[in-house]
Structures are given as C-alpha cells and as structure tokens.
Amino acid sequence: MATLGQLERSVMDELWDAPDPLDANVLRDRLAAADGQRELAVTTVLTVLSRLEKKGMITRDRSARPHRWRAAGSRAEHVAELMHDALGDAGDREAVLARFIGRVTPEDAAALRRLLGDRATAD
C-alpha cells in the first residue's frame, strides 16, 4: 500500500503529463494501471487531490461533473521554483540558477530514470 506522500507524487506525475484536466475516476484508473494498485479507492484519490489543492499544486474545475483537476503549474516551473528557493538562499549561487530555469523536458526525465537505475546498481 502506497503512502499518501507517494500517492501525491504519482497523482502530480499524472496531472503534469496529462494535456487535459482529469477527474478522480480517470486518475484512479491511470494510477491503478501504472502501479498495479487495484484496491485504490476513488475516495482515497479524492483525499489526495484535496491535499494537493490545499498545497496550491492543483486547481479544480467545478463546472464539470465530476470535478476535474489540472496542475497549477508545469513540472518545469515547480522545479524552477524549488531551485530558486534552494539557491536563492546562498546569494552567490543565484547567477548559476538563472541559467537553468525551465530546462527539464519529458525526454530528460525519461533519460534520468534510466540513468538513476544505472546509478543504483553502480553505487
């Protein structure tokens, strides 16, 4: 059974990759397909969604029934925010940061996963 934290990450990954807003049922099906979590309940997905909404990570489209959800910003934007936070703290590294904002593409991410897999065995 995945923890709420892991589920939040999986939901964000789905929403970041989806071109259109998704409702909880569709999300549940995609998560089940991705992780083989057949017992995942829609209520659990809704809990995760409302937690993510509180964190300002996603927005809800109330005009549709059932409600549909989209990511508030792209993955790259959030990576940029994270890096800005982390590096902005040390003023001398700010110049480094500016060069790297918004550079992660899905291809990068895929390459990374392969790479991390290699590292895991190399370490």
């Binding site: 964190k55 925010e81 936070d85 001398d92 480094v96 990374l112």
Partner: protein, 307 residues
C-alpha cells in the same frame, strides 16, 4: 549618565561602521571562520545593545545615575511631574529606544515566520518533485541538469537533495565531499545564524553594513562546512567538486561572486592554514568582552555612576 550615553553611542557608531568594514576586508577570517563568525555575532549584538542603551541612558539621565533605578522610578516621576520629569529630548530618546527595539524584534519574528512558511512550501515541493535516492538514506534526487546539492534544515525532515546534474558531474569521492559539506551546514545549524543576519539586513535595507555582514556570514558558513567536510573526506576531491559544481555555467564566465567564492574555497582547502592558537583566543575573548562591556556598563551602577 549622559557620559555613559555618549560612550555607548560612540561604541555603537564604531560597531556600525568602521569595525565591520575592517573585519570584512581582513584576510584572517578565512583561516578561522568559526572565530570570525563569533566576532560578527558579537559585533551585531553589542552594536544593537549599545545603540539602544545609549538612547535609554540619554532619556533617563534626568532621573539619576543608575539606569535600572531610573527606569523603575520613571512611572512615578511621569505621574508626578508629567513630561517635565525627563524633558522633551529625554522623551524622544526613550521613544526612539523603544521603537528601535520593537522594530528589530518584530523584523526577526517576521523573518522567522516567512522562512518557516517558505520551508514548508519547499518541503512540499521536494516531496512531489524528487524521488528517494536508491542507496543513500535521507537523500532525494531532483530530476534536473543543474548541479546542485543542499540540505533541508532540521525540523523539516533533514533531507539532503541532490540533482541529477550533480550525480552526473561528480565521482564517488567528490559526491561524498559535497554531501559531507551540506550535512555540516545542517549539524551546525548555519540556517539559524544566517536567519538572524538576514533579518537584520531586511530590517535595515538602507544600511549597507547589514548587507556586508550578511554576505560575510554566507561566506564564513561555507568555509566552516568545508572544514567540517575535510575532516571526513578527501580534501582534494572536495576541492575538485567545488570547482565542478560552482562554475558550470554554459558559455559564460560566472558572475563575480560565483567564481570568486569558489576559488577562495578551493584555495583554502588545498593550502589549509590556521591562525595560531593565542591569536584565536585573543579574538574570542575580544568578542565576549564586546558584548559583556556594554552590558556591564548599563547594569552596574558603579560604572554608570561615572556619568
């Protein structure tokens, strides 16, 4: 007590302007970063204390030579004689002392609250954007090409975040050096020291010395973390890692600060040198005396009595 006020005001001015500039220009802090950090904190505390103390002494001077007794007598004196008890200049000085104290404390609280909010947000982002490192405990990997490493402070999970760019760029020893450096920041609570000086900087944006101090503190904690890391990892590897991590800016020489601090850190790692022990202790004593002297002056009637 007017003489005390004058002496404290002179001390406050010295600590607000020439002393920090001299310290910022000195070269010894890189050879004794911990002691220099202590001295900076002493200068900041003693500076604030003597400035506020000078105003209090000036304001309460009409009520006697003992600051504590004069402060205790103030309500009765005001009730009996109104503002005439201390005069308009006294009232202005007291109001300034109170306002300065409240302003500085309020800014410290505000900075802490903002930093906590930002860290909570940051922790959320880390949880959503990074994956656990396959082999290292309490370490998460960010999918990004920029080579960065940093630690989240204690109370926020004590997590080390490494980027893919960093893992790509560094070999095992270099990575161990970077991680040891970041852990040292965490263990020695450098975030707390930095927070205090950042609060000071944001409270006094028109005061260039606050910015100078903040920048010096940022540099000193890097030195300190390097020194801690070098005790447990290969210092040549650590120096290499600094060279690889900091100036990786495609096609562009780094902004002055980036390459400068990187070069300084590498230089002192490769040719370590420490101040002789007697000098170190003399500076530490001076730092303690700097805070103790104005405090004693304010609260010891015999000394205040000089005025």
């Amino acid at each position: 007590m007017l003489l005390t006020a004058l002496a404290l005001a002179l001390l406050a001015i010295a600590l607000a302007w020439p002393v920090p500039l001299l310290l910022a220009a000195a070269s010894w802090p890189s050879r004794a970063p911990g002691t220099a950090l202590l001295l900076w904190q002493a200068i900041a505390i003693a500076g604030g204390l003597s400035m506020i103390g000078a105003l209090l002494c000036a304001g309460l001077a009409p009520l006697g030579d003992d600051l504590v007794r004069a402060a205790l007598a103030l309500p009765a004196a005001l009730a009996a004689r109104g503002i005439a008890a201390i005069g308009v200049p006294g009232l202005v000085a007291l109001a300034a002392a109170v306002a300065l104290t409240v302003y500085l404390l309020a800014h410290l609280v505000r900075t802490i609250v903002l930093a906590n909010r930002q860290r909570r947000r940051h922790r959320d982002l880390v949880a959503l954007l990074t994956s656990p490192h396959p082999t290292r405990d309490a370490t998460r990997v960010l999918d990004d090409a920029a080579p960065i490493a940093y630690c989240l402070p204690r109370g926020f999970g004590s997590t080390t975040v490494l980027s893919r760019g960093l893992l790509d760029a560094l070999d095992g020893d270099e990575l161990a050096g970077v991680v040891a450096h970041e852990r040292a920041h965490l263990d020695e609570r450098h975030d707390v020291v930095r927070l205090a000086f950042r609060a000071w900087r944001s409270a006094l944006p028109w005061f260039p010395i606050a910015a100078v101090a903040d920048d010096q503190i940022a540099r000193l904690v890097e030195y300190l973390a390097d020194d801690r890391a070098r005790a447990s990892v290969d210092r040549a590897a650590l120096a290499r890692a600094i060279g690889l991590v900091v100036p990786v800016i495609p096609g562009e020489p780094g902004a002055g600060g980036v390459t400068e601090i990187g070069a300084l850190r590498r230089g002192r790692l490769l040719a370590p040198s420490r101040l002789p022990s007697p000098t170190l202790w003399a500076i530490r004593l001076a730092a303690v005396a700097l805070v103790a002297a104005p405090t004693a002056w304010l609260f010891t009637p015999a000394l205040s009595g000089l005025g």
